[in-house]
Amino acid sequence: MKTDIIKPYGDTLNDGIVQLSFTLPVENGARAKKAAERYVKKLNFEKVTVVHAKKIADGFTCFMVYASAKPTIDYSKVEAKEAEFEHMDYYKINAMIKESIGRPIIAVGATIGHDAHTVGIDAIMNMKGYNMDYGLERYPEIKAYNLGAQVSCENLIKAAIKYKADVILASQTVTQKESHILNFTELVNQSIIAGIRDEIVLLAGGAKISNEIAIQLGYDAGFGANTVPSQVASFMVTQLIKLMHPTKKQTRDSA
């Protein structure tokens, strides 16, 4: 395999230049600056310049630093785990559902836990949609139920069962103290307990959610900032077809 060794770029290839800013719990002064410099060296940098140091509280100093990073990375070895699916448009998605599933998809979504942020899940589900891209409610071939925010995992699963959902969409915005991880995990567990995990497409989303983390937590996919509804709908239908036609899925995979 071909390698592709790279480094940060300032104004000359591979100069490694990085801007850093951080606070150390020390009083400002020559020693503080020295400590900042040494610390950044420990982070595998050379040519470290502490360009700014400012006292921001008794015993705390904020530093700004430019430095040249030493490591390189082989870009050819970097793989990303994006949800794999063809991004289709509104019309194609509806057509595909009609053709391959033969009935409207049912989707239930909510912001779980104590999280009150609805703007994200609304962007995906409400008619209006996001960034000129219609929301799921608008799709004739999708029946979308948006339960809003602060919904307990239990209630979301109950609703999914009640509506015979094909897809569950869970949103989390607050990530402080890993609360999103706790809530997402809880939802997966509840779906397993309810015995529906294998029958549904389970999606996680939110500003700080990546596909990778969602998959780690047991979801089919995760969607982060700037997702548009048609991406989600595309994934939903693609995944659902795989779920409903496992053989078809295999042929696809081997193709």
Binding site: S21, F22, T23, K54, K55, I56, A57, D58, F60, C62, H114, D115, A116, T118, V119, D122, G148, Q150, V174, T175, Q176, K177, S179, A207, A225
Partner: protein, 516 residues
Amino acid sequence: MAHIPLNLKQIKRVKDLAGQITDQVHGFIVEHSSLSVERAILRLYGVDGLADCGAPLPNRVVDIWQSDGNIATGISRPFAGAILASGESPQRTAELIAQGKLLLGDYAGGSQEQIEEKERELSEKAVAILEASKTRKAKKIEKVPLPVQPWRYLIVATGDIYEDRTQAESAVFSGADIIAVIRSTAQSLLDYVPYGPTTEGFGGTYATQANFKIMREALDKASIKHDRYVRLVNYASGLCMAEIAACAAIEDLDVLLNDSMYGILFRDINMQRTFIDQYFSRLICAKAAIIINTGEDNYLTTAHAVDSAHTVTASQLINEAMGKKAKLTDDLLGLGHAFEINPEIENAFLYELAHAQLAKELFPDAPLKYMPPTKHKSTDIFYSHCMDTLFNLASVTTGQGIHLTGILTEALHTPLMQDRYKSISSVNYVFNVARDLGEEIEFKKEGFIVKRAQQVLNETEMLLNEISNVGLMESISQGRFADISRPVDGGKGLDGVFKKGADYSNPVMDILEAVE
């Protein structure tokens, strides 16, 4: 100050409309009370701490009375009776009640007059507590003067009150005039006020009386050190508005987030409950000289900041009218609004100036609370920093009162110490280099800014007309604010609402209402 000439008659019309709307709701409010209101009375009577079961004592006592089916009387009378019966302090009396050693509703301890006398004594003391807080604050401000407006408002939100204190000290060091301790996520949905110093919140720190005290003490020191009075803010809106107001007053807080509709819209708290609670909590704030901050800024995080600008103005007018009903004077009305227009809209800054100046024209004597961009903040922190810089300019130019400092990492995380420093540096810079810009420019007559302000005012008038026709509660259930609709009987906390009986008594409220 750059001025937008508005029709004074129209201003009067919208204020009258807001007054009518308030009057309608007020009719409902005065006939009802809530468990939280009753608990607030107990707190002002001197009840604090936890019962053996772990619940706060005020909750225990009120719950007992409610589960007995007697709540329509309110808690004041039976509690006064219990004190007479026990002969103990309010605190001890409450403990005895919680332990089941003393019965509420046992009026044997004294005559009707004696009980009323006790109530009078308790309530006068209660009101004196509020007055004392006002006096203490006034004295502090004599010693270390208040800074000029806009006041630089910074939040701390680590979840740990001691860590918050460190952060707050840092903020004051860099120039903060007001510190707000952001409340732990969803505390507003707790139907009690947590107790004691706390170190584990989510997205914020629990609002407890002990935490208030810790922070106020730290800020008192910081005020003296930096020779300017640093105000302390916490959050009342939620299921415990009145109780938190009581705790805040006791601990000399300066500002409370206290909106007549926020809980309804953003926390799905029942609207009856909210209207009742806000009234008593604001009476408390008025007496203790606590500035209220309203939450109109939140509307623009769910609704479109241009299309829905008039809902902000309408809500400000309603909050003002409700505030005045609760005896809040102009200087205590920190009505909220925000700089939330999508920066991709051409001339967004002109809209912002128009909206901000409109608020100033309508409420010239109120310390308006101006919220920075949040929804359209980018994860590009440098870009976000620019947005805040123009926000700072809009604020100082239109003479806002309370300037919530925008943070460059808004789209990422609750602020780190370094974020706060960087953000306040921008505020300090802009406020200094453009201090008198507002005095030195005029908005072109018939220009875009003037017309835009007029348009928002016209839309506001139409909306208020509609609301006054159908009533506020019905309007909210139709989703008139923030694109959110809430049913009159839905949401949390309705079970805590009760109709006052003929024998209902709340002498604290009586005194506070009597004030001129």
